[in-house]
């Protein structure tokens, strides 16, 4: 979006101008380098520490009293103990399932609604668009939302953490903006050839919208993976808990994870190691999709939203 063009250099009587701005002085460059290095370090260092501690041998963790910056060896017992059944494994499966089902559902509903709202000549189009836009302006509140979910009998079911957040009005607007921007001549010619609305949506709209749907899908996926409060609000049955709630209970609140919670008989590695391993497991999916997100979000999301 912003940084694609190479800066234009120009020599003038007042020294070299780069895109119209004088060259930075030595001192300035050094200070900036230091500031940015520290900023990046503050982000990277915690991750290094967490991953290292989760991999470090028990003996080293105990000696350090908790945190390790560089593991003396690689010891996977913490991962083995949480991934071979028990609370964490179950939560991981719930999170993966909810994220997969939720993302597919959200994408389907969003693509359909975005497409429908982009057909500006259909009846009720303006009213429906307004309905979606206005919903961006308010938030019903915790208690009213709870009452609706309760009335629908969704408490203590996984649908409670999928359906209420299935449609993001913002994402609908982004997808609609994309469809509106498509050349209408193509659509018209397909229609002349006898394509009905469904065919048009399925064979033209969806394939063309693949890039924007990829971004929107990634955002939905990250949202479902990270969802915490709705799960806490709607799920009192701890066997349905997603990973974020398990993370809260055993890492943030520091509840001890016993051998029976993990279905393990053998002695466990230190709590810190287990906590770090849970943390790593919940971060990894984000790290995996991050490069894709990053490639798309700057150009895809913002331009779409702004034009809409």
């Amino acid at each position: 979006m912003s940084t694609i063009t190479t800066p234009r250099r120009r020599k003038t009587g007042r020294g070299t101008l780069i895109d119209g701005v004088p060259r930075p002085s030595r001192v300035e460059s050094v200070i900036k380098a230091i500031v940015l290095t520290i900023a990046c370090g503050l982000v990277i260092l915690p991750f290094v520490g967490i991953i290292s501690t989760s991999l470090a041998p028990a003996e080293q963790v105990n000696r350090a009293g908790g945190f390790v910056l560089l593991p003396e060896g690689i010891d996977l017992t913490a991962y083995a103990s949480i991934l071979t059944g028990g609370v964490v494994t179950r939560a991981l499966l719930v999170s993966v399932g909810v994220t997969a089902v939720g993302t597919v559902l959200s994408l389907t509903l969003t693509a359909m609604l975005g497409w429908a709202l982009s057909r500006r000549q259909t009846m009720g189009n303006r009213q429906l668009l307004l309905l979606v836009l206005v919903s961006l302006l308010f938030n019903p509140g915790i208690i009213p939302s709870y009452l609706v979910v309760q009335q629908l009998g969704m408490l203590d079911t996984l649908s409670a953490i999928i359906v209420p957040t299935a449609v993001s009005a913002f994402n609908v607007i982004v997808v609609r903006a994309f469809f509106v921007g498509l050349p209408q001549e193509v659509m018209d010619s397909a229609r002349i050839d006898g394509a009905g609305e469904w065919k048009l949506f399925w064979y033209m709209g969806l394939p063309l919208a693949r890039p924007v749907l990829a971004v929107v899908g990634l955002f939905y996926g990250v949202g479902y993976w990270n969802a915490f409060f709705n799960a806490m609000l709607y799920l009192s049955d701890s066997s349905l808990w997603p990973l974020q709630l398990v993370l809260r209970t055993y890492v943030v609140d520091g509840t001890q994870l016993g051998a029976q919670d993990l279905g393990a008989e053998a002695s466990l590695p230190p709590q810190t190691t287990i906590q770090m391993a849970i943390l790593v497991i919940s971060i990894i999916p984000i790290l995996i999709v991050y490069p894709f997100l990053q490639r798309h979000f700057a150009k895809g999301m913002l331009t779409g939203a702004v034009k809409g």
Partner: protein, 331 residues
């Protein structure tokens, strides 16, 4: 797509949108049922998504009526007693818990406006001043990352860094220094949550500012440099004026949000630090309503909170217009 097929066939290259209004010329003599028959595939496509929006936004919004009820879950909305504005009296009766939540909310908003809001602006200026695109993109990819982590993870990461057995304290102790007490310490709590927000969202928030910075006319810089402006004067006289509209816009939005601060973030840390310092209006509604059973009162607080937020945005937008800024929208 306006006319019938025959009409279209006779005009092979129709000028799209002849009226220039984004809408085609009005169709004549099409009744409701005829239009419904024609448009029903589109409406069917819209239906499931619209249903979710209606149920979980609009119907839920209607649930706010329990603010006027002595709501009892076993009676439901239909049979609970109506009590008028009684629930709202908590806003004026000087209830210490409510006042505490209100005070904390406003204080945290103030902290965030002063310390969190300018951070991405400064970072964006810094990134924008980098000559090397490679360095810029590398720094961006690192600093955007924390935005995509959940609050649970961010809070856990901070605990592991700053907690009693965390990285910092281990380091200090192993060098013979005294440890620092941050996690669970009410005196350090506001500094802690402020730095958490900065850590999580500063990088991401630069996106908008960088987009705006890239739109500023290069010739303004050239001209000011010719007139002898230094880099600093260029920032002051060219860059910042160019960023003013987006800064005003974000401040307005921030004002509308000023009564909802870091709900998940604070909820997660209440157990460690206590409700005295960490209770804000949103956690108050949750703790007293869903947990404590004071449904009506909590809904009343939530409702007033939402209305005040809306009014704040409208007022701030009006003020922005009076000051000659674009604002969020123009009615």
């Amino acid at each position: 797509m306006t006319a019938t097929r025959e009409a279209r066939a006779s005009t092979p290259t129709p000028t799209p949108d002849p009226t220039g209004t984004g809408r085609p010329a009005r169709r004549e003599s099409q009744g409701f049922w005829a239009r419904l028959r024609r448009d029903h595939p589109v409406l069917l496509l819209a239906l499931p998504g619209i249903a979710v929006v209606i149920v979980f936004q609009y119907v839920a919004l209607g649930g706010n009526v329990i603010a006027f009820q002595d709501y009892q879950p076993y009676l439901g909305i239909g049979r609970s007693l109506w009590v008028g504005f009684e629930n709202f009296s908590i806003l004026f009766s000087g209830d210490p818990e409510f006042l505490n939540a209100l005070r904390n909310t406003l204080y945290i908003t103030l902290l965030q406006t002063v310390f969190v809001f300018p951070a991405p602006i400064i970072l964006a200026l810094l990134l924008n001043s980098l000559v090397s695109n490679k360095v810029k993109q590398a720094v961006q990819s690192v600093l955007y990352l924390p935005h995509f982590l959940s609050w649970v993870i961010v809070v856990a990461v901070f605990q592991q860094m700053l907690g009693g057995a965390g990285m910092i304290n281990n380091f200090l102790r192993s060098h013979g220094w005294a440890g620092v007490d941050i996690i669970g310490n009410p005196d350090a709590f506001y500094a802690l949550i402020t730095s958490q927000v900065i850590w999580k969202d500063t990088g991401w928030a630069t996106i908008l500012f960088l987009a705006v910075l890239s739109q500023i006319d290069r010739s303004l810089y050239e001209a000011s440099a010719m007139d002898g402006a230094t880099r600093w004067r260029q920032i002051w006289h060219v860059t910042l004026p160019g960023m003013k509209p987006i800064i005003v816009l974000l401040l307005i939005l921030k004002l509308g949000d000023s009564l909802s601060v870091g709900f998940e973030q604070l909820l997660l840390q209440q157990q460690a630090v206590g409700r005295d310092v960490s209770e804000v209006l949103d956690t108050y509604v949750y703790n007293n309503g869903v947990i404590g059973g004071a449904w009506g009162v909590s809904a009343a607080v939530g409702l007033v909170k939402g209305l005040v937020g809306l009014v704040l945005v409208l007022v701030a937008n009006k003020i922005a217009h009076l000051l000659g800024e674009e604002g969020v929208y123009r009615a």
